[in-house]
């Protein structure tokens, strides 16, 4: 038992164990808050082991654990991280303590249940990113649903029940299709193991006769498209975000949406490269529609939280676009954008939540001139706003630049259309900032609003620091992301030139690509 093969189990299950521990606490709200904070911080510290011991030069999954769980069907407890999931795991463990801090006073009803569910949710989210057994992946995927729906439905705002049920049913129905696809793969591969199935699909050992490949691709796609969400499946998102408590919104936007883009990359693109290419045109079209539509709808929102929710639709469109350009650059950008969006939109929801705690409203028209009574808060808000719209030197710029670069490589039109999204986002964010913070204080009660207090500043500082560091030192992250992305997207997809070069060298590119791929997985499964 070395640290390397127990660390993932620890990271994934410390929150769950902590949640059970919290249930045994007496009903002392403060003790429970501190307990939840300690557990989430412990998880974060444990997860820091991963980037410091992650070997960027190795392709494939690291820190693997693999035990038999159920014999029939052959389900294994198989966890591992590569350069993509590594950062998503860190993002999750990073956002949960902040969510705990932000809920300190805003949650005063059933405090114990709230923090226990938050920690259960953390385990489920981490499990999704760590699972290398498709069945295990599905289990964790479904497991995120229940705590999230309860968080929205119990601690949300007025229309919380409607939003919770809508969220649950949308995701649940969509993931049934994914389950069908997973079972189909199991029946034909005899295994739920991700690497095994990927190898067998690539070598043609699993015969995808007729329309099988299409149905499998769509089965996974629907589940992930709802989660991302890709236009026109996004309608659950504004409801869920607006009604959710602040911590729910932070994790929903920060992590849960990333599960969708992660799945698209990990399953749709990596397992079914041919199908992914065939369907890329309309998926990219939907992504671009999402970018522009999300931005335009965000612009006219009178409600601050709804505005941020629609901006998520727009930002996640960039991730989908990047993934379906099949360029290493675009996909790198997409993964980086997932992290950026987690940090900046997570922070935006935290900021919106602080405003709500003070005024119990999200209506933009209720505010105005807030920079005068709340200068520190306004500064934080401005930095995050700039990060969200992709100002150079801040994190958003790196991701958007790479995605757009990839889009231009794939097709100039994609790049042109998507680039307008950058402009739109500047419009709606800055206009919102102007209406909320500049000018005279229009509503007298706003004059008395207290500025960000110490706890709130502690919660906000890390996001601002990361927004800056990720903007100037992206290589710290990219060194791990890039090799993993190159392994995940099929070799023929390293941009058009690479494909042509390979085709010229070998006459026909597929068999070679397949052999390389197989080799790389044999190495990684050791």
């Amino acid at each position: 038992m070395t640290m390397d093969n127990t660390i993932l189990t620890l990271v994934a299950f410390v929150p769950l164990a902590g949640a059970l521990l919290l249930l045994l606490f007496p009903r002392n709200d403060n003790a429970i808050r501190w307990g939840a904070l300690a557990i989430s911080l412990l998880t974060f510290v444990l997860s820091l082991h991963l980037p410091f011991h992650f070997d960027n030069s190795k392709v494939g999954f690291q820190f693997s654990v693999d035990h038999s769980w159920i014999g029939s069907p052959n389900i294994r407890y198989h966890l591992g991280v590569d350069g993509i999931s590594l950062w998503l795991v860190l993002l999750t463990t990073f956002l949960v303590p902040l969510s705990v801090l932000i809920s300190w006073h805003s949650v005063h009803d059933r405090v114990k249940e709230f923090f226990a569910l938050l920690l259960v949710l953390e385990t489920a989210m981490l499990g999704v990113f760590l699972s290398l057994d498709m069945f295990l992946f599905y289990v964790f995927w479904e497991a995120t649903l229940i705590p999230m729906a309860l968080l929205i439905g119990i601690w949300g705002h007025e229309r919380r029940v409607y939003a919770a049920v809508k969220f649950f049913l949308y995701t649940m129905v969509a993931s049934v299709f994914m389950l069908a696809a997973i079972i189909w793969l199991y029946v034909h591969a005899g295994s739920f193991d991700y690497a095994t199935i990927r190898t067998k699909l690539a070598t043609g050992e699993i015969a995808l006769g007729g329309n099988a490949a299409l149905w499998l691709f769509l089965g996974f796609f629907i589940a992930f498209a709802v989660k991302v969400p890709i236009f026109p499946l996004h309608t659950w998102l504004p409801d869920a975000h607006v009604e959710a408590p602040t911590a729910g919104s932070v994790l929903l936007a920060g992590v849960l949406l990333k599960m969708g883009t992660y799945g698209l990359l990990r399953f749709n693109v990596a397992l079914f490269p041919d199908e992914a290419r065939r369907h890329a045109p309309w998926i990219v079209a939907l992504a671009i529609i999402g970018i522009i539509y999300g931005a335009l709808v965000a612009m006219v929102q009178p409600n601050l939280k709804k505005l941020i929710a629609y901006s998520s639709v727009s930002h996640l469109g960039f991730c989908v676009l990047g993934i379906f350009t099949f360029t290493a650059m675009g996909t790198d950008g997409a993964v980086y954008q997932m992290l950026n969006h987690g940090v900046s939109t997570g922070a935006l929801f935290m900021l919106a939540g602080m405003l709500y705690e003070r005024r119990h409203t999200y209506e933009i028209s209720e505010f105005g001139g807030l920079a005068t009574p709340m200068p520190i808060y306004a500064t934080f808000f401005l930095l995050i706003t700039l990060s969200s719209i992709g100002l150079p030197l801040l994190n958003g710029f790196v991701g958007e630049f790479l995605v757009l670069n990839g889009a231009f490589q794939a097709k100039a039109l994609f790049g042109v259309l998507a680039a307008t999204g950058v402009i739109w986002s500047a419009c709606y964010m800055l206009w919102m900032y102007q209406r909320v913070f500049y000018g005279q204080v229009t509503v007298p009660v706003n004059n008395t609003l207290p500025d960000a207090n110490l706890r709130e500043r502690i919660a906000l500082w890390p996001t601002v620091v990361f927004a800056l560091v990720m903007g100037v030192a992206s290589s710290l992250w990219m060194n791990a992301i890039d090799p993993a992305v190159r392994a995940a997207i099929p070799p023929a997809a390293h941009g058009m030139e690479a494909a042509q070069k390979q085709a010229a060298a070998s006459g026909h590119s597929r068999p070679d690509a397949v052999r390389n791929e197989k080799k790389s997985f044999e190495v990684s499964s050791r």
């Binding site: 159920i70 014999g71 029939s72 069907p73 649950f168 649940m172 389950l179 029946v187």
Partner: protein, 488 residues
């Protein structure tokens, strides 16, 4: 005729024990003061059912046929015997408080449960159609009477009468089927029938016989289109009894159906004959059950429609392959166990919350339950999530094995129908959780402390539900062995 040996009696030992304890309960009943609680008799019945469960485990050393091939003790019969004994134990535990709250001071209640269990157990081990019929009658008559035990309420009498009239009608179909089968094959023994049917030359009579027997059993398992009685009967009958009759007699009836369809009529010509019968019934049951449940506001009716839907899922397993590692029979057997765990558990909680005269059984009465009794709400959520089929609960693997078996038989259409139905079902089960957790309490129902007996019953059911969802392997292995024994 083989001589009767001591081992023959061991092979019906659980039944003997239950009968003896049943008689003891009846004899002891008049000794208690007329208006006093019948809890002592319940304890006696509990001891009897635990003894029967232990006898069943011991029976595994004495597998084989008894009474001239009328009884077959093997993994198959032991699985169902144990399942029925466990259900009875949980139901008896849940009944202590219920009977006191409802002021039902009749000791026959426990006696009838035990006698009914005798019939159900015999149904699963009998290999002779006449004995199966007798066992079916023993089990049915006991449940008819139990359904009417809330004598002061018209709905309970209605429930009993409806169940009795339609039930006898259905049993007549079953008997008629037996008669025709005897006419077609010259035997009522399952093995001999199987030989005769495999030989061909049985004519159209055998087909009619199988169809008629399917009608009779279809009624008992509440499969569409023989399901219309279910909501009314479940609504009127005492809540713990609904927990019993939606699981134990159903499991026994499924055992009989498995025996008739697979052990007797698995020859190709017959398989294709009953295939569509089961297909249509499964598709109808799933759809009608789930759609019906969507609009229910009474927990008992909701669970009644849900039980119709679950009978449909279970029937899908019958269409899977009969042999091989991922066969339909073992999927069906696993499903009965998993469904029993979650459904009995749900009814335990329903009977606790029902209150005097079962006044609090609508969804509105469950509003805010998470505030009033957080643990009960959490347990009921587990059962509801399992009924939806969420991973880590028994309901998930039950559905998984069933649809996996169906896919192995290339039944893509039926699997799709089943999956769409699972998605529909999520809505109404979820509604229960939503009401408990996200609505304010609007009932005047008093918060009753959970008595130890009921707590044990609920925890047993929840533990079984989670066990089947997290470590399904052992039970599945046993189900596979049972399937193998059935087909031998």
């Amino acid at each position: 005729m083989n001589p009767i040996t001591g081992a023959d009696y061991v092979r019906i030992l659980p039944e003997i024990i239950l009968t003896a304890f049943g008689i003891a309960v009846m004899v002891a009943d008049p000794l208690l003061a007329p208006k006093s609680s019948r809890k002592p008799l319940g304890v006696l019945a509990l001891i009897g059912s635990i003894a029967a469960a232990m006898a069943t485990v011991w029976q595994s050393n004495f597998t084989g046929d008894a009474f001239s091939h009328m009884i077959a003790v093997n993994s198959f019969s032991i699985f169902f015997h144990l399942l029925i004994a466990l259900i009875v134990i949980v139901v008896i535990l849940a009944s202590y408080e219920y009977l006191d709250v409802q002021h039902i001071n009749l000791g026959e209640y426990y006696g009838l449960i035990l006698f009914g269990a005798v019939g159900m157990m015999l149904m699963s081990s009998a290999t002779e159609l006449v004995l199966i019929f007798i066992a079916l009658e023993i089990s049915s008559i006991a449940t008819y009477v139990l359904a009417g035990f809330r004598r002061k309420f018209a709905s309970s009498s209605e429930s009993s009468l409806k169940y009795f009239l339609l039930g006898s009608f259905a049993t007549a179909f079953f008997l008629y089927g037996i008669a025709l089968m005897f006419g077609a094959t010259g035997s009522t023994n399952i093995t001999e029938i199987a030989t005769a049917l495999r030989g061909g030359n049985t004519g159209v009579l055998a087909y009619v016989a199988i169809a008629l027997m399917f009608v009779g059993i279809g009624f008992k398992i509440a499969a569409a289109p023989f399901h219309v009685w279910t909501p009314d009967v479940y609504e009127g009958a005492p809540a713990p009894i609904v927990g019993l009759m939606s699981t134990a007699p159903k499991a026994a009836a499924f055992a009989v159906l498995l025996r008739i369809l697979f052990a007797a009529a698995s020859a190709d010509a017959f398989h294709s004959a009953w295939f569509w019968l089961v297909w249509v019934s499964a598709a109808l049951s799933m759809t009608l059950g789930n759609v019906g449940a969507l609009v229910q506001n009474n927990m008992k009716r909701l669970l009644a429609y849900s039980s119709i839907a679950h009978a449909g899922y279970l029937l899908v397993a019958f269409l899977g392959p009969a042999t091989g590692p991922e066969n339909g029979i073992s999927a069906a057997i696993f499903y009965t166990a998993s469904y029993a765990a979650m459904n009995v558990g749900a009814f335990c909680i329903v009977s606790h919350l029902a209150g005097d005269g079962e006044r609090y059984v609508t969804l509105d009465d469950y509003a805010g339950l998470s505030q009033r009794s957080p643990w009960l709400a959490a347990m009921l959520s587990i059962f509801m999530l399992s009924l939806i089929g969420i991973p880590l609960t028994g309901g998930f693997f039950a559905k998984y094995y069933v649809f996996n078996a169906a896919l192995h038989a290339n039944l893509v259409g039926l699997t799709v129908i089943g999956m769409i139905n699972s998605a529909i079902a999520a809505y109404y089960y979820l509604r229960v959780i939503v009401v408990m957790y996200m609505q304010e309490s609007k009932t005047d129902a008093p918060v009753l402390p959970v008595p130890a007996s009921l707590g044990v019953a609920v925890i047993l059911s929840a533990a079984a539900t989670l066990y089947l969802g997290i470590w399904p392997q052992r039970v599945l292995d046993y189900a596979v062995r049972s399937a193998h024994d059935l087909m031998r």
